[in-house]
Amino acid sequence: MSTKSFLNDIRNGETFENQDARNLFFRKIALYAGLYGAALLFIIPYLWMISRGFQPRWQLFAAEPYLIPREITFQWYSFLFEGTPIIRWTINTIIIAGGATLAVLLVDSMIAYSLTRLNWPGKRVVFSVIVASFMVPGIVNLIPVYQIIVELGLLNSYLGVMLPVIAGPIGVFMLVQFFKDFPDEIEESARIDGFSTFQIYTRLILPMMKSALTALGLFIFIWTWNAFLWPLILLQEESMYTLPIGLVVLQDTMTAQQPGLIMASALFASLPLFIVFLLLQKQLVEAVQMQGTVG
């Protein structure tokens, strides 16, 4: 029942005749207040970020904060594009996140296919080890992986940032759950039609598992786009930085705080994923929920 009808009831003098209805009414009010109150609190940081990036200096440094700008300036943005390598950082981030995502999708779907549809000695053990590696927090391997990357001569390279992402077990596990449910009959009839293993993989599995792959791809893309500690250690030159690293370096290299510029850079760095988010929210929700079922 909607709030509106309750209000009508009140007007008609019909409510609160019994305890239950009154409770229900107040509960509904509390629910709406709680949810929308929380939602309001949740968007304040966004509003702050957006608004501050358009405020001129005198507002940024005034004693009282302006959530709504009194006047709008684009100076921080024009400075951001002309005076900092933010475009370069964006390109780097796209390369790294895109590259890692493609690699993960390829490699994970191959092994998931192999683990679910093909029979080979030792595969149970292999799968158990992969699942067990879930328990390994990324941070444990930070130092040794760094040492390995260095030995491979991959310090300060895109590949160095991507490789450890590919080793992550979550994609394998997620895809195995989905590939398991792929109908045997389809595969069998394909075999009878003379499809090779490779053809089954490319022509049947991949197209039919598109939604699972999209979800995984989204997850990996966002994960890599946002990664902080690992690229911070590995990337050595300003021209190699990803957005998250660039933003922090930008903030740190300034003598005095430049809140306008920083908020502008934050908004710009979030925008691509935000657009992806709005366009593909449904798939993204699925991606996260898949992880829930994994657990």
Binding site: W58, F61, A63, Q75, V150, Q236, T253, Q258
Partner: protein, 467 residues
Amino acid sequence: MTMQGDSPTDEGSSRQYTDRPVRSRLNNRRRFLQGVGVTGAVGLAGCVGSLPGFGDDDEPEAGEEDLEGGVEVDEGDADVILRLDSLLTGGDGDPFEAMVEDFNAQSDNVAVEVTRVPWDEYYDQLFTAMTADEAPDIGFSHSSQIVPFLDNLTPLDDYVDYDPYVDQIVDSVEYEGQHYGAPLDTHMAAAYYNKEIYEEAGLDPEDPPSNWEEFAEANDAIVDAGYYAFDYGTGMHICRSWGGWLRSRGHEVIEGEEGNWEPNFNNEDGVAVTEPLREAVERDWTPTEDDNSWPSFVEGDFGAVVDGTWAWSRFREGGGEELDFDWGTYDLSLAPGKEEDWTMCDSHNLIVPQSDHSEEELEGIGEFFEYMTQERAVDWSAEAGHLAATTEALGSDELREREAWDYSLHTFQDIADNEELYYWPATQNTDEYSEAIYQSLEAVRYGQQDAQEALDEAEQRCRDIFS
């Protein structure tokens, strides 16, 4: 779209700082973390071109190439091409690179290529590059930061003539009889003060304070005139005055040698130089948090702030943050009850972080080092604002004729002449012990701990770090 300068409200904005409580923000982040005398505090002006809002409010002048700075060399330009990673960005990065280009032009067979690395990440990156055997041929090291790299640096005695340098400066890169760096300069912090505010407060702008009593009196007068008077800063900046003050009362901040350092500040003298940090807040010289002090100084609304020699490269014409008021500098050796004058300093040194160079390369490096640090010492000093490291440059009339002399260099020259240079002790973990100290000093400034408690805690942390 309204640009800043067009707006009617903007007109009086800078003056608002004195009428209203100034917004100040947290800023003890990595700004000063990376060690003493980090030139990188040069700021955005240097790092990413000049920023809108300081100095001229009209048009944002984005320096397009600034972050991309550096010097490029084409293959085939010279027999020996040397790669240099520079931590100098902007203000002093530009003159440095101009000098490198001059060197390349005048040298027959050696050319040097410069890449900029953000100073904030410099030493971590130098270290990671060294682990990967990808260190540049030439690097930078502050004297305070050199110890952890010593094992992997090439001693330079055979390639660089060390006679021309000032003894005290050269001592800071000498370990076991060998020199591991070519000192480009020495740089220290000083108080940068607004002469107009001094006048307004009824003080003689040409006679800045030289001891605690004068300093306190001047600050009180400035407060009475309606301005904040002085800011010690936060982070490593606090140590810049505090460390010299401690030394002026007869204590080095730590004593001993590598492997056996002992904190030496938790004593009566330590307390005496720590208490003023809080006193400054209580007497309204300083806002509790420091963040807006520096911008308000630039806007002309703050008596004095602590900054390094490098500030010159921003404040001078074309530096991006020209001050539109008359300003000067004075020595920070102002400790209450000081026995001697000491001022904390550090040096930029050029180093060779690899051991596998050919003799030809090493000679090229030596040639380059002597050119940069000796032949061009006057230019470096006058453009970048740091104090030259050679006796000849320091004594030269040429230096005295340059613009920087009257503003800041003469102050630094006096410090060097009086042999007041106090190098912050360099250890295996300089950053860590410095951080332990300044975090406690900040707590005093914020009124969270009294001086004695803070020093107790800092001492304990230093012991943990050195053990």
